[in-house]
């Protein structure tokens, strides 16, 4: 029914001009979506289309050129590779890692957390204690083990990083489901004999999704940076292939002398994290105004 007089759609009466509000609401969604699209296109299609040199194999003679020097929009790194092309190619690697890690985290962690809170009792305790072991497990040891036994590769990096994000998302999902479980509509759905998996998908997931998405969006930048740090432990995207993470972690070695090496990838990271977070929040406001 056209719940125009939906009793719950109320907020403190605001004196903002109505026209601006409606227009802002629509735009609130289009700008972030556009920005995310721009980042994706730049990183995934840009390198194929744009006339830029390869990200590796630069001539060592023109190392450390300043920004806007001929042929190199953002200059070159100490090994003579073009920074702009490394950012685009690196972006692809970093985006794949962070999206994969977050999707894995949300899917596995979210499911685990929601399930454990929903079923409660012994199952909840067991799952939570296993997660505690994973959280307490020193991340350095795991990274080294994965690096040396499985070797550095994109999938191994994603696995190692997901190892950290799954327990975290699980705990957040559990907290959200806990306070949800007491609500009458949950008991009503249970009484109607809904199987547990439908409960998770139809009832719990949509309610805890906004919080989990915000959690994942905020964590994106951190995942990319940690990936860079892993390259020092022999995991992560192996040098000389670029990723924003390893560009930053290598650039910081001479930060005061060559700040550009850190600023450009950090800027790219800023735009990406901003885009995803704006999108996350726009989705969330769209979602919650029932």
């Amino acid at each position: 029914m056209a719940a125009v007089d939906a009793s719950s759609a109320s907020a403190v009466l605001d004196a903002a001009p109505r026209a601006r509000r409606a227009w802002a609401r629509k735009l609130g969604l289009y700008i972030p979506a556009g920005l995310v699209g721009f980042v994706m296109v730049a990183c995934f299609i840009g390198p194929l289309v744009l006339p830029i040199p390869a990200p590796v194999g630069g001539n060592v003679l023109d190392s450390g050129l300043p920004a806007f020097s001929p042929g190199h929009l953002l200059g070159t790194d100490p090994n003579g590779n073009d920074i702009f092309s490394r950012i685009l190619h690196g972006g692809r690697a970093s985006l794949i890692v962070t999206i994969a890690v977050n999707v894995l985290g949300l899917a596995v962690g979210g499911l685990l957390g929601a399930l454990s809170a929903y079923i409660g009792g012994a199952v909840d305790t067991v799952i939570m204690r296993v997660l505690d072991v994973l959280i307490a497990f020193p991340s350095l040891v795991l990274t080294l083990a994965v690096a040396q036994s499985l070797g550095p590769s994109l999938t191994n990096t994603i696995l190692a990083l997901a190892f950290f994000s799954v327990p975290a998302v699980a705990r957040v999902a559990r907290a959200a489901t806990l306070s949800l479980r007491e609500l009458p509509f949950m008991t009503a759905a249970e009484l109607a004999g809904t199987p547990w998996w439908r409960m998770l998908l139809r009832h719990i997931a949509p309610n805890i999704a906004p919080q989990l998405i915000t959690f994942a969006m905020l964590g994106m930048g951190i995942v990319i940076v940690i990936e860079g740090a892993l390259s020092f432990l022999g995991l992560g995207i192996p040098a000389p292939n670029p990723s924003w993470g390893n560009m930053i972690s290598e650039g910081q070695a001479s930060l005061s002398a060559t700040p550009g090496l850190v600023i450009w990838p950090s800027l790219a990271l800023f735009i990406t994290v901003l885009a995803f977070n704006l999108l996350g929040e726009a989705l969330r406001t769209q979602w919650s105004v029932r």
């Binding site: 056209a2 125009v4 007089d5 907020a11 009466l13 109505r18 007491e182 609500l183 009458p184």
Partner: protein, 379 residues
């Protein structure tokens, strides 16, 4: 029984003594041509299209209409609780002061003190993480500078006023430890905290079972008699209107289509829509298995209202004339309606239906009084 009843009367009166009492019958609230429209995703939605009615002090007015008829939005407009995208016009004067467009700061001092509201879903209307007592004392202290202890005392008083058993113990408990009916009583207690002049019950009993519904209605009527609080009862249940309200407004597609005292309305229904609504209520007198008459079609989409009278597409006595929007006027003394082909008068059956409803409602009330007496004795 009567001793106990009178004892409680003094107790309540002493408490209510401080509320300034207007002589019953004087106009408390006058709503003139109220219009509210939202812009949802670019589309203009006219939730209320010119609603007018008058509520006198100490009276119960029922606003009846199907969901989506704008009855709830009209109530929230009085409280200033509409989402920012709402555009409001027309006038609503409460004790002579214009509510529409009142600055937020001033409106806030009115909420709870002059006008209070009770909502539909008791399960979600109380903060689950806060004790019942705290949620009431908060309302009390919002409008009167009393110490915590004094506020606590008044809160317990209020809980007793709404007949919540073992009020002292409930004071410290949490919402999830109470039943739906008890929670609704707490919400009412909260609404009464500021000793409002007008209490709006927005489908307050819809989510409750019939017996609890009757108890809550009985409570509201009792409060109205004792505290002189005017009550606007928003519902889609004509039976409630018949048995409790003095005046009834029937709303359809955001505007009032019929408005009269309960007796007049149910004695001779004029508006085909109201008659159809009445017809849809099962009656004991009818033979069993009689087909229940249903109003064809769907309530109109507020964003795309049909031309002329909004009920035209579903009205069986609609004619070409109905393309012209009928004027809402007092065609008979104390009986307003907006229709070119008012029914009633010539068809005895309608009167019969009207009367039957009134009788059935009265019998239900008497039954409740009897049982209440029994409850009272048990306590």
């Amino acid at each position: 029984m009567s001793g106990e009843r009178t004892a409680r009367r003094e107790e309540v009166l002493s408490y209510a003594g401080s509320a300034t009492r207007r002589a019953p019958g004087e106009a408390l609230l006058e709503v003139r041509d109220l219009r509210v429209c939202f812009s949802r995703g670019g589309r203009r939605v006219n939730a209320v299209n010119g609603l007018s009615y008058t509520l006198n002090a100490g009276e119960i007015l029922a606003i009846i209409g199907e969901s989506g008829s704008g009855k709830s939005v009209s109530a929230r407009t009085l409280m200033g609780l509409l989402p920012p995208s709402a555009q409001v016009s027309g006038s609503a004067r409460f004790e002579g002061t214009e509510l529409i467009g009142m600055p937020e700061k001033e409106m806030r001092s009115w909420r709870g003190a002059k006008i209070a509201m009770v909502f539909q879903d008791p399960a979600r209307s109380l903060n689950p993480t806060m004790r019942i007592g705290a949620q009431i004392t908060e309302a009390i202290r919002a409008h009167s500078a009393v110490s915590k202890k004094e506020a606590a005392e008044r809160a317990v008083e209020l809980l007793k006023l709404v007949h919540l058993p073992a009020a002292e113990r409930r004071f410290f408990e949490y919402p999830h430890q109470l039943s739906g009916g008890m929670r609704q009583r707490v919400v009412i207690a909260i609404a009464l905290a500021g000793q409002p002049r007008l209490l709006i019950a927005d489908e307050a009993t819809t989510a409750l079972d019939v017996t609890t519904q009757a108890q809550i209605m009985e409570l509201l009527v009792e409060l109205q008699e004792r505290l002189g609080t005017a009550i606007i009862m928003i519902s889609h249940d004509l039976g409630l209107a018949a048995s409790y309200a003095q005046n009834v407004v029937v709303m359809y597609a955001g505007r009032a289509v019929e408005y009269a005292t309960a007796e007049k309305l149910f004695a001779n229904v004029r508006m085909p829509y109201t008659r159809a609504l009445l017809g849809a209520i099962p009656l004991l007198e009818r033979e069993s298995h009689a087909l229940l008459p249903v109003i064809p079609g769907q309530p109109p989409d507020p964003a795309a209202l049909p031309a002329g009278c909004p009920f035209r597409p579903r009205c069986d006595s609609a004619t070409e004339a109905c393309l012209e929007p009928p004027r809402f006027a007092e065609h008979e003394p104390g009986h307003w309606w907006a229709c070119w082909h008012p029914s009633g008068g010539e068809d005895a059956r309608d009167a019969h239906i009207g009367g039957a409803h009134a009788r059935q409602a009265r019998d239900v009330r008497q039954a409740q009084d009897v049982r209440q007496v029994k409850d009272g004795a048990q306590r």
